[in-house]
Subunit: 242 residues, 4 copies
């Protein structure tokens, strides 16, 4: 079995502008995630907003089985043509997409969902507890019935998303909210996972349970070698008509 | 109970250009559908592409509970700002949307789905049989276990859509295909129904079972008076934190 | 439109044995629920465990559109033949079923789900907050984005249920858990709603939001007049075979 | 990675009584299926109705990752305690279950579904065409957009099942019906797949596409090593209450 090819995309702006972010993720959030994934047997590369074509050339995408997306302050700077390219690669070729935390407002996630994708939020460092809702799901492998994140940004309902095909996690917050924090959807030939934990100034991507979820999600989101989608004009019937 | 307010939108081009279409739907497909709906106790208006703002001003939408959409050859002429307006009205205010036949490639349907929305098609006037898959669904009211359309345009799988929240009908075609021909989705506060039967030169919208489906779908898609979606920044926790 | 016919079933044991219960629901939980429903334009009767056939004769069921079920300490005393009768009425005729609180372990709910239906629980009177997850759902009508129950029995995940067709509410608990507290499923021609709030010694069924949910659920669960399910041997093909 | 352990269960009655069946499946349907699966790297055993405990002792089940079930004329002879044992192993431990063809009326399938599970049927050897509906699904791997079965028993809608979590295949029949012929459900920690093709006197289990589907389904249905389901009484809150 050849290694799954993962590209970790990060808008990579906070880390350059904000000392507090740089302290937690000195080489960027993408490198923190990539570093862990490299220990899991994946073939991992990174890409970021300020590279040419945002680091997502046709060639890079063609060599990517699963794309991980982190963005926050610069969603609007992502070019529509690159969004279109990623969208096609997911729908037509079955590339997986994992959207993390504030990527709920990224262009690509919103385009795939068809809804507003906003949510309720608050940033006071309260406690979060992530509950497993589908214990038999591949993304729940190796995880306990729940795990805690000591300090988090609250993301609460209502979350403007279509009903997930699989709802894997629901979050509890000390401040009183709940959130569908781990959601799966199929889009065309591809699979999409949204996972809410994570933040630019909190060390959440260093937490083992969070890393385990991302690893599991990469395996789940990998393309299946099903039939190429065959649509369009087929003028001949398959059956002889009377 | 006040009457549900329905707007039937039609691109209304075929009927003006093509004598064969005009023969089947002399006042346009929209009028054929509207005429039936008026007999069902709804308050019905129509709108079409060549009217100012495509007939879908803010005022018209604000007075519409359910919008029915028929388009085919001029999907690209629908202005993006009008699509955005319809999309908002669905997601935020819960207006229902019913997309008929070739509206599977309309901008509004594709934006709501997040997928390609193409399908397999053939136009040889073969027989179609529509099977009820959810006999307890509101959209199945008053219908038999199946009904037949003597001459149809074949729309077959694969249909590039997200998994429907409810799959109400599956079509059989004499030429050998199947199709998820009656599908429901929730999007934000609104509901979307796609129904495949219909064509510009076939008298399908005059068929009682098809009219019944559209009537049922209007009732199903009507807005519910649930909570306004409350998203954004809520800096104060609901609970006192220790 | 004739009034929907609702039967409120209660095992009605706690109220007779326990003074604390009798104080909150002096005429039984069923009467507390029925009393409210009678103000909503429904035709309401009640039934309970110790009546002949548990008050659920063929005649009573044939005259019931929606059955509400409350049970707790005597699930095992419900006769299998009555469970079978209720199950048939739901699957074949489309009678709706609303299971409240501890009815998650009733024979009828477990038979309809096909899973264990156990959950995590705790009884210390903590605070619960019920969040609307599908604001456009008929069961969310007239409700705010969330409502609070000051003192509740905690019901938490993992809840051993099949994935709901619609997930309407998620509960938050002060003690740290979450719960899928408002869930819809279709079973055969019928509809099933589970709603977790409620308890024998807490005045939860007197709370207006809870009453509103039950009212909405009755309307949602009412039978649709779709086709009778037609299964079995059909030796003749619908099409002439070559 | 150790090999997945598969047990192929067959009621094994037709083959002993009916020369026509014995000609197509001389060693039984179970051996035909097992023989193919052994070439796919699985560890395969078989079991049948007339063995002690139907060949499904606690030990055998404890050593089974995925159970394949074929039954038809003797569903009622399967003992309830064995059904209960299989049900527990699926729900609690996550064993996968694949129900083939007439197993739609087996006790274990009906118990897991909670519905009647009947369907429309006809036995005239007509043509069937199986269409892929989820091309990105693991069970669609290596398959074309559709495949044909030259002579089949028709299984048509309405099929009395709960809405599948994933609908992978829809069948077309020459005689005019459609059928949800490949359906996935999660039940507790386990996964269930129903696949309609197959028959006791037709060589369908010798067909490569059918064998491929069963192979894919075994991999999909294998248990995930998620958390043990933790339900019951947890008297202590996870959070300190004010």
């Amino acid at each position: 079995m050849t290694a799954l090819r993962v590209t970790v995309w990060n808008e990579f702006r906070h880390e350059k502008k904000d000392a507090e972010v740089a302290k937690v993720y000195p080489q960027g959030i993408h490198e923190a995630i990539a570093k862990h994934l490299r220990t899991q047997g994946f073939s991992v590369r990174t890409a970021s907003l300020d590279e040419p074509e945002h680091g997502l050339s046709e060639k890079v995408l063609a060599e990517t089985d699963v794309l991980i997306w982190w963005g926050h302050m610069a969603h609007d700077e992502v070019k529509d043509e690159i969004v279109e390219r990623v969208w096609k690669r997911i729908n037509e070729d079955g590339m997986g997409l994992i959207c993390l935390h504030s990527a709920h407002m990224s262009k690509i996630f919103r385009k795939l969902m068809g809804t507003g994708c906003m949510l309720r939020w608050r940033e006071i460092g309260e406690k979060e507890r992530v509950w497993m809702i589908e214990p038999g799901h591949p993304i729940a492998e190796g995880l306990p019935p729940y795990f805690e994140i000591p300090h988090t940004e609250m993301y609460g309902e209502h979350f403007e998303i279509p009903t997930p095909d699989d709802l894997v996690f629901i979050n509890w917050y000390a401040g009183g909210e709940v959130f569908r924090g781990g959601c799966c959807w199929r889009r065309g030939n591809g699979k999409v996972f949204y996972f809410s934990p994570g933040h630019e100034t909190l060390p959440i991507y260093h937490q083992p349970e969070v890393q385990r979820v991302i690893t599991n999600a990469v395996r789940w989101a990998a393309p299946a070698a099903g039939p190429k989608i065959a649509t369009g004009h087929f003028p001949e019937p398959l059956e002889k008509l009377g």
